[in-house]
């Protein structure tokens, strides 16, 4: 057979196979339609019963597929809070939902495992915890991170230093979910997260995530350490603006040295972040420097400086008015427009 004929026959074979497969899928869809309608009705019935607060026994649910029971409970658990949620979780545990999730957490599909591991966070029995610990060794890094987060939400997280190593946090895994994980752990064990910031061996991304997690908790004890880190950071480094933003979020005046320093850094991101932080902290000593920054070559710096001056109140607004009348054209535009935006007269 010539190569040209081979092309022809291969194309016929592939097109025929694709069409045959499609016909099978259409037939399967027709068959599954009936099952889907039946399951949707069962699900509606189940939701109605659960929302009425009825206690459902395994006998009552005989014939209802366990996957349907599990999925219905998970949806309801996500939708409600407080006592109602606890009741659903308790009932789900009695009906074997946690065991079903445990089985799913061993599925060959990473997507199924991930959902199961995320859902297991609701259950605190020993089997579920064992399963979550086992999932920390999962071959998929998203599943590993989800398992760590589920354990942390149940207050059963491993030592965070060990987790950073084990999950490759900050090295193989840059997800912002790392901030969520550290934030959850910091609720119970803030010292561990602080140690991540202070330990010089911690990789940069993990340290930055730890700083951001702690900044949102409002724990002031780290302000001096973050200030030192910011002062030591190089001009064009990625971490400098993030340290400065964290100091702004913490809002403690002890960070002022780093913020004042940041206002004069050559890096645009650092100056803009420092201006934002100065406004949040209401750093009155920075007012003159902020007024100078209204003439900065970078729009973001001018904007953040003008916003910061507004936050400083009367003294800041005074400087904006002065710049709007007497400043350079660039500073005049920034000052006058931001004053107008905030409903302040010139």
């Amino acid at each position: 057979m010539s190569p040209l004929l081979l092309i022809w026959y291969v194309s016929l074979l592939l097109a025929g196979a694709a069409l045959a497969l499609m016909l099978v899928l259409i037939a399967l869809r027709l068959v599954s339609r009936h099952r889907e309608v039946r399951d949707a009705e069962r699900r509606r019935q189940l939701v109605r019963e659960l929302l009425r607060g009825e206690s459902l026994s395994p006998d009552h649910l005989k014939g209802v597929p366990s996957t349907l029971i599990t999925d219905t409970f998970l949806d309801l658990i996500r939708l409600v809070r407080g006592e109602e949620r606890d009741l659903f979780v308790e009932q789900a545990a009695e009906l074997g939902v946690a065991q079903q999730l445990g089985r799913r957490a061993r599925s060959p599909s990473a997507r199924t495992r991930l959902v199961a591991v995320q859902s297991l966070a609701q259950f605190h029995d020993e089997d579920s915890l064992r399963r979550l610990h086992a999932s920390l060794e999962d071959r998929n890094q998203d599943v590993r991170l989800a398992a760590a987060l589920s354990l942390a939400e149940g207050g059963r997280s491993d030592n965070i230093h060990a987790l950073v190593e084990r999950l490759g946090l900050g090295t193989e895994q840059d997800s912002m979910m790392m901030v969520t994980l550290f934030r959850v752990v910091a609720e119970d064990r803030p010292e561990e997260i602080k140690a991540l910031v202070l330990n010089s061996g911690t990789n940069l991304q993990a340290r930055l995530a730890a700083v951001e997690a702690l900044a949102s908790t409002g724990d002031y004890s780290l302000v001096p350490a973050i200030t030192e880190l910011a002062l030591a950071a190089s001009d064009d480094s990625e971490e400098l603006p993030r340290y400065l933003r964290a100091l702004g979020t913490l809002g403690h005046p002890a960070g002022s040295a780093a913020i004042m320093d940041g206002l004069s850094r050559p890096s645009m991101s650092a100056r803009a972040a420092a201006a934002g932080a100065a406004g949040r902290i209401r750093l009155y000593d920075a007012a003159d420097r902020l007024a100078e920054l209204l003439n900065d070559s970078e729009w973001w710096v001018r904007f953040r400086a003008a916003e910061a001056l507004i936050r400083l109140g009367k003294s800041g607004v005074g400087r904006l008015r002065e710049a709007a009348c007497l400043g350079t054209p660039v500073a005049r535009e920034a000052a006058a427009t931001v004053l107008a935006e905030h409903g302040q007269r010139l």
């Binding site: 196979a17 899928l25 996500r78 979910m177 427009t337």
Partner: protein, 473 residues
């Protein structure tokens, strides 16, 4: 002597036919590789979570997004579009509608509907755009900002929106794009999971013709009743599910549609925003981003994800569809030739070889060779210069492999995503996937050749696109 001439002519004819078949085969093989990669990407994609679960997981981490909707003469639909955009489910977003010097009452209807007043807003001038005449807002509708500017085209309007935006992520859409309520929170996932590397993300665009639309939302997905819109449904499925997903998996995605794409604002500004001198500005922006990041030797991601869905109105007449396809072809050629130094340039790695390579195969050479094949292969066979095997091989690379790829995309959709509501819809689209190869494909190639001609004549402008509005329930 005559025999020798005939043999020489016959040899030349065989070489021409062989080149046509080989070029077609190269296209088919590239598509099959894309289909394989797309299948793998769908298999290993993260789970499709419910909106509630997404909110729970990403609610605190999702970065602020500015949605930029350029609009030109959209007075009939703009209020409904704005209403739908403002009702999106996302923690922190603003909607910037840019009235690009409309000649109708687009601005007036927005001002009336939302009680807007002129405001002062300190904004950047980082990317080039025509003068902004005014900015309008209402404190009672804090998420909405309307920018009124001199007419300058779509790219210019998006650039104006980019200047006015303050969020780190911009979402560029068409004024008539319908976003699903959770589209943003789904689309933002790469910016949360790979926050440093991700610079752009594209989502899926589906055809809204025939769907039940109310209040700017698709309430019920239905297939179009118009044949051309049905064919485009198959085309969009193939383009997004096979080509974009496959290329993303190969890390060589070259286009994010201007109808629904998210960009890191700073990265888009670094490359000068959308270019004015091309009708393929969305394609060109992505190529510029690749070039910029590779020149800076930075690790980065430009990604397409299948989950976030937006809907758009597809042309239903040959004239409008032809204009659109000619324009797309012209845009591809403009972008390719503007950045031709990247092609096969080792400095640009897989983008130079694979990304630009597939542009050459599909967009630069593809239509020319296919049209040459339609004319030459039957002619040479009728003249007795080539064997019938060449005709069969040409039919294979054009029709039967084309059918395989279209149906293959549908199989992928059904096995992995299952978004078509009824078995009947699957059957109809399968039929269309077969039928489109006979007639429509050839007309499409004619339009692409027209685009080639416009490119060579350096014709500018967008042509006509008449909106008939989405179907009411």
């Amino acid at each position: 002597m005559n025999g020798q001439v005939f043999a020489s002519v016959s040899l030349a004819a065989e070489i021409i036919a062989l080149l046509i078949v080989l070029a077609g085969l190269a296209q088919v093989l590239l598509y099959i590789v894309q289909l394989g990669f797309a299948g793998w990407a769908l298999h290993k994609r993260p789970p499709a979570m419910s909106s509630a679960a997404l909110w729970q997981r990403y609610g605190d981490l999702a970065p602020p997004v500015a949605i930029i909707a350029p609009s030109y003469n959209e007075e009939l639909t703009i209020v409904e579009s704005a209403k739908a955009l403002l009702a999106l489910h996302y923690p922190d977003f603003e909607v910037i509608i840019v009235n690009d010097g409309s000649r109708d009452a687009t601005l007036h209807v927005l001002v009336e509907a939302y009680g807007l007043k002129p405001i002062q807003r300190y904004h950047d001038l980082a990317v080039q755009c025509r003068p902004i005449r005014g900015i309008y807002a209402n404190p009672g509708v804090p998420r909405l900002i309307v920018v009124d500017k001199n007419n300058g085209g779509k790219a210019d309007a998006i650039n104006a929106g980019m200047n006015v935006a303050r969020a780190p992520i911009i979402c560029v859409i068409d004024a008539d794009t319908l976003l699903e309520p959770d589209a943003l929170i789904r689309a933002v996932r790469p910016f949360v999971e790979e926050p440093i590397k991700t610079v752009a993300v594209g989502g899926t665009i589906r055809i809204a013709n025939g769907c039940r639309v109310e209040g700017g939302r698709v309430l019920e997905a239905r297939l179009p009743r118009n044949f051309l819109a049905l064919v485009q449904t198959v085309e969009y499925l193939r383009a997004f599910l096979m080509a974009r997903l496959g290329l993303t998996e190969m890390r060589a995605l070259m286009i994010i549609s201007g109808a629904f794409g998210l960009f890191r604002r700073s990265a888009a500004i670094d490359v000068g925003g959308f270019s004015h001198n091309t009708v393929g500005e969305d394609f060109e922006l992505v190529v510029k981003l690749h070039r910029h990041m590779r020149d800076k030797k930075q690790d980065y991601r430009i990604t397409y994800i299948a989950d976030p869905v937006s809907w758009t109105e597809a042309p239903e007449t040959l004239k409008i569809l032809g204009n659109q396809r000619a324009r797309w072809q012209r845009g591809s050629l403009e972008t390719f030739f503007k950045h031709r130094d990247m092609f096969l340039n080792p400095r640009y790695g897989r983008i130079g070889f694979l990304g630009m390579g597939q542009v050459v195969v599909f967009d630069v050479l593809g239509p020319l060779i296919e049209v040459a094949g339609y004319i030459l292969v039957p002619l040479l066979w009728l003249l007795g210069l080539i064997a019938f095997d060449y005709v069969l091989a040409f039919i294979a690379v054009i029709f039967t492999f084309g059918l395989f790829l279209s149906v293959g995309s549908l199989v992928l959709e059904e096995v992995q995503l299952r978004r078509l509501p009824r078995a009947r819809d699957l059957a109809i689209l399968t039929l269309i996937a077969v039928v489109e190869n006979f007639g429509y494909r050839q007309i499409n190639n004619f339009w692409r050749i027209k685009g080639y001609w416009q490119f060579l004549r350096k014709q500018q402008g967008w042509g006509e696109m008449t909106r008939k509005g989405f179907q009411r329930p």
